[in-house]
Symmetry: D2
Subunit: 212 residues, 4 copies
Amino acid sequence: MEKKNEAAITIDPAKTALLMLHWQNDLATPSGKIAGNVLERLAAAHTIEHTQAVLKATREKGMLVIFVNGSHRPGYPEVSAKPSPLMDSLLRAGIGVRGSRGTEVIDQLKPLDDEIVVYNYSTSGFCYTDLDIILRNKGITDIVLTGLVTNWSVESTARDGANRGYFIYILKDCCNSLSDEMHNWTLTNILPVLGVVLDSKAYIAALQGQVR
Amino acid sequence: MEKKNEAAITIDPAKTALLMLHWQNDLATPSGKIAGNVLERLAAAHTIEHTQAVLKATREKGMLVIFVNGSHRPGYPEVSAKPSPLMDSLLRAGIGVRGSRGTEVIDQLKPLDDEIVVYNYSTSGFCYTDLDIILRNKGITDIVLTGLVTNWSVESTARDGANRGYFIYILKDCCNSLSDEMHNWTLTNILPVLGVVLDSKAYIAALQGQVR
Amino acid sequence: MEKKNEAAITIDPAKTALLMLHWQNDLATPSGKIAGNVLERLAAAHTIEHTQAVLKATREKGMLVIFVNGSHRPGYPEVSAKPSPLMDSLLRAGIGVRGSRGTEVIDQLKPLDDEIVVYNYSTSGFCYTDLDIILRNKGITDIVLTGLVTNWSVESTARDGANRGYFIYILKDCCNSLSDEMHNWTLTNILPVLGVVLDSKAYIAALQGQVR
Amino acid sequence: MEKKNEAAITIDPAKTALLMLHWQNDLATPSGKIAGNVLERLAAAHTIEHTQAVLKATREKGMLVIFVNGSHRPGYPEVSAKPSPLMDSLLRAGIGVRGSRGTEVIDQLKPLDDEIVVYNYSTSGFCYTDLDIILRNKGITDIVLTGLVTNWSVESTARDGANRGYFIYILKDCCNSLSDEMHNWTLTNILPVLGVVLDSKAYIAALQGQVR
């Protein structure tokens, strides 16, 4: 599998959207119900700071920014009677319920008033949501992924987005997971097969290269 | 095309859901922005009263009830730059914006606190919504349609639902449209090919037959 | 609902595809199992001849042409145990089985070797097919519809395509149905709300206007 | 994440389907264009023999068996102009073209005449195919996965199937990949979160437990 040369990356702000995946309080604040060790890992790797820089540069170009938050309807009617282990653990913990603070974006990366928040039920931003229709009707062909966690929301959205024909960029220092191994496995073995893995610096440089 | 005999209809409340389509203030209250002559037509045909009776009988059986309301995001990001005449007319009138009173269900048919409201952008309840995943995970195989207007929301949801393998019932006195011709054309020529057209009385009788 | 002025129509051949819907032997040859009176109606209205002219002009521009044919797997595994009246009638007649001559395009409108044929199970070209992924990955935003019958395949594909954000053109003299009433009802009341209804002459003129 | 106790597994043959994913000549015969070291790995782990036993036991119960094969249209019209690295490598190698021997199931696991083969373009069996409509209309709620390779077709279909509400079983000795690490990573870290990972022996025992 060849790797694209980062030097060659060009981002067209009119056809590219930044997706902010599951940057929500449940995962990334001290009171978050499933935060576990994620907080310490985010702090150690400065993941939130890198993502803030990306968000700022992206907004300056007037690019489309969409947030995707996990959010279940009260009573979880969208979960089957024989749930997956993943859904079962959410149900038992009673987390991710629509309208709860846990399903809102963390303060450091808050959406602007006119930015779009999509609520999903699963690890993919595309599954049973309006993400796809918004992207296509905005003329978006390329998507840039950041978020939590690398091997679930980011990877499932990358797999699903690539299957739908979107060109995928993954910002490796703007994602994190429960361990280095979890984070690095997919960045090394899976995501480079689906798109281009780059860091926030390279992305911002490519974005700014647009106006030269 | 054979017609099913209404006498033979059996409704299994565990596998059937009642869909309440676009029963929203924009269409069915005096202040509604696109109500036009619909109000008078609803009054003349007692459509709301028939639907109230259906809702009551359905709830008494503990059946799943789902409301589908048209509701656009502010700025209509989900509409393409070259919109259909239908979308163009919504945009020009500035109607159907999420959170507005016009997108809420009319008082006479108000959802209970634990009933589900799905927001859609189009004439089909299934398109880019979570309706399908809720129905399938609740074990629903049959859907009963009521709503406004017969030849748009009801018919598109019937076409789309039948294509997805749901068995469709259409309650003819619980729908209405802009004219008798609009209403009757689809009830006579299109909907009987996609499912079973019956009136509220026959539906309620079939529903109650379940416990005999 | 405003109507677009036909004079203003511009077709970009790089972003537009011609869809040829259910132009198959079952519907439009003397031996076709569900042809009924369609043959006489096609002859009287010169529908096939108009469509031949459209196909020729479209190919000359190098535009994408896609055929959609109804075609069921042997044994109809994709049909539910409680089929719609429409599916029930297909099953009883045993028609539309994949590989049968009835599911092939009629000789007069035969696909070229490199043209795409999509097989579908329902009245919509989009439902459970690869039509959408081909169109989007080819950069298509507008679709032009012809086919049989006006109020089923053409109308369902128009409803479904508009819901997915495609801009829709319907060529009124390149469709037909089981009666004038069936054909005209949707052309007058439904299709102009979803897109632009025009005749083959106006379409060909618009297409050729591209190179002036 | 709790693990389900294998002892408790019950398979209902009427509601469960066996999916045979990408068991095709390109991947698993000596002449296969992308077989690489997969052949030796299949031989060493007896993956094909385990899968043969599973297929036999499954057919004896009259369960639904569906094969999913990667198969592109000539000219790859379904691939975007800016393909993912994965698609780019397929295009350059010119593999997976519909009708080629490489896209057929290997002789050892050949479908019976009345078994269903679904052709897909991507790593998910669900994406732009008719798999979902066949499963739902056959009343299937649980799916059992085998195939090549563990971290692509099997994992993507597991992610996508779980998102659609199917309960997932993964047969760990009926999958394989390009390395032990690739194979084991997902079996250990990802797939147990999406469903139940078990071996062919445990599956066959559970299946036969049904008739006791």
